[in-house]
């Protein structure tokens, strides 16, 4: 299962630091996210991009995690040689993270009406 199936995400930038939120569509999945989307997994996923540390902050009230990636934006938004200097697309890359299938005890998210 991909992270994208149970969570959404947005990237923000400050200098050479990127932050990526991971927000459960259904708050019931927050614990599952907390268990599987660790700072170590995120660091490994972005091994080619992040030169610094990955720190995870937990926001149980809104069912979200916030990852802060230092030395991740090619020397800083205002001087980076990268095509996407802000790293705006990192959230989409993170949503591709492979997760184990959800335990059946979890309620799954209701499908949106067609």
């Amino acid at each position: 299962m991909k992270l994208r199936e149970i969570a959404h995400s947005r990237t923000g930038d400050k200098g050479n630091t990127s932050n990526i939120s991971v927000i459960a569509f259904d708050k019931a999945h927050y614990e599952f996210l907390r268990e599987h989307v660790t700072a170590e997994r995120v660091r490994a996923h972005f091994a080619d991009i992040v030169r610094g540390e990955v720190t995870r902050y937990e926001l149980p009230m809104i069912g979200a995690l916030n990852f802060v990636l230092t030395n991740a934006l090619g020397g800083g938004v205002t001087r980076s040689l990268a095509l996407d200097a802000h790293g705006k697309g990192l959230s989409s890359a993170l949503l591709d993270l492979e997760l184990p299938d959800m335990p059946t005890t979890f309620e799954t998210r209701a499908e949106p009406a067609p």
């Binding site: 947005r10 923000g12 939120s21 802060v68 800083g76 205002t78 001087r79 095509l83």
Partner: protein, 445 residues
């Protein structure tokens, strides 16, 4: 309990203008904020001001003011904006000039000044936060230094009866905290309420990013009416509770999900979101849908401000030269790779001096590298070479060397583009707040 409604009319300098008009006409708002000043923008504006003392404010100020000034004046909506950039005084004078041309008389326009702290930064020679070294190390490459001011001078301007407040660098949330402090009489050491105010400002400052902009992902997160995306309204009560909504009938959506994404946008540690006036805590914030396009936000808090002001220093960092070329059809990826190898070798052979370079295959792995970009061969590919140099002349040579692929590279390359530009970058220092003395000038149309 008393509430006020604040609209957010822009999330960045180049933002759409029609949603701001919609907010003024049909939003039932008392305040309209425009956040238009990115980190680097003020340094570029300072360069313009050095060339022309009457310039250095937001290039869309005139267009925006012409679009909303008359409506706002007739409905008593106060405008608060950082479109003053490097020259709030000239921006205020321009606004007065526009008001007169539109036949609006008696409009009070305030300029907030004092964020320019270039001299204080040089004197203090503070350590740079993002890179090694101190202010003095930037030498004559330093262009500007602007401290993030708090809400106090904006509140002062509102208390003096200003209809429009034009600032330079202020904390973005301060644009939206000021009306709350002014209207509700919040004390400047009421950390809890100021923390809630920071939540309000943070959620509103990027305009359409909370009403469904920058959110849609077809099939997973669909948003209706994006072409007519409406901008947000914050309905704030005296005790700091907030409802985010938008003009009925406008495009987009306000949902728990859009609000949560924006709550964490550009946030690091959610327990300490540092602003000039307060250290806000977002970690206990709750987000609850209470109706269609109505989401209640509660639980923000705060503690005492740090006494230091983050200050952005703009400096000439380097030059970047760049070139691009497209390849299509069978073998496009291989021809793209060959083109990159050729340019790489030619830049060496011709002795182009670069301190850093990138060789990208757009359409294959330019954004996140090979490991995250596994997949089949694309139908088309665009190569991109970008390098950092010490001079503009040297930077020009990089794009030229890509363009010569037309007659000197692999088969079928097309659509060459090249550029060379000076890079004004930004670093930060922390300045003792007592060295910064904001003030307010009032102009009357």
């Amino acid at each position: 309990m008393r509430t006020i409604r604040i609209g957010s009319g822009a999330g960045y300098s180049g933002d759409r203008i029609e949603p701001a008009v919609e907010l003024a006409e049909r939003g039932g708002i008392q305040y309209l904020g425009f956040e238009c000043l990115a980190e680097r923008t003020i340094a570029l504006a300072q360069q313009q001001k050095l060339r022309d003392p009457g310039a250095g404010y937001d290039p869309l100020l005139e267009q925006r003011m012409r679009a909303v000034l008359a409506i706002c004046k007739s409905k008593g909506i106060k405008i608060i904006t950082n479109m003053g950039a490097a020259n709030p005084t000239a921006a205020a004078a321009k606004t007065v000039e526009i008001a007169r041309q539109l036949g609006i008389s008696g409009l009070k326009v305030a300029a907030v000044i004092g964020d320019d702290v270039l001299d204080a930064c040089k004197r203090g020679n503070y350590p740079l936060l993002e890179i090694e070294g101190r202010v003095a190390d930037l030498g004559n490459r330093m262009l500007s230094a602007n401290a993030y001011l708090g809400a106090a001078p904006i509140v002062q301007a509102l208390a003096a009866g200003a209809d429009v407040v034009v600032t330079g660098r202020v904390g973005d949330p301060a644009l939206f905290m000021a009306p709350l402090i002014h209207e509700f009489g919040w004390a400047m050491d009421d950390w809890d309420r100021l923390g809630k105010g920071a939540v309000v400002g943070h959620l509103l400052e990027c305009a359409g990013q909370i009403t469904g902009g920058y959110f849609a992902d077809p099939g997973v997160k669909d948003v209706a009416g994006l072409a007519r995306l409406g901008f947000p309204i914050g309905e704030v009560s005296e005790d700091g509770d907030l409802v985010i909504t938008k003009v009925p009938g406008s495009g987009g959506a306000v949902t728990e999900a859009t609000c949560k994404e924006q709550l964490l946008y550009e946030v690091h540690d959610p327990t300490q979101y540092i602003q000039p006036d307060v250290v806000a805590d977002f970690s206990k914030v709750t987000v609850t849908e209470i109706g269609p396009d109505r989401v209640r936000i509660r639980g923000g808090s705060g503690r005492a401000k740090t006494g230091q002001l983050k200050t952005s220093i703009g400096y000439i960092d380097s030059y970047i030269g760049e070139g691009q070329m497209s390849y299509a059809g069978p073998g496009a990826l291989e021809r793209g790779r060959l083109a990159l190898e050729i340019v790489r070798e030619r830049l060496k052979l011709t002795g182009v001096q670069m301190s850093e370079a990138r060789f990208d295959l757009i359409g294959a792995d330019s954004l996140h590298g090979a490991a995250l970009s596994a997949g089949g061969a694309p139908y088309e590919i665009r190569i991109r070479v970008a390098g950092r140099t010490d001079s503009l002349a040297e930077a020009v040579r990089i794009g030229n060397e890509v363009e010569t692929l037309y007659t000197n590279g692999p088969a079928g390359g097309g659509g060459a583009a090249k550029s060379a530009r000076e890079i004004v970058a930004v670093v930060s220092v922390l300045l003792p707040a007592d060295l910064v003395a904001p003030s307010v000038q009032i102009f009357v149309a």
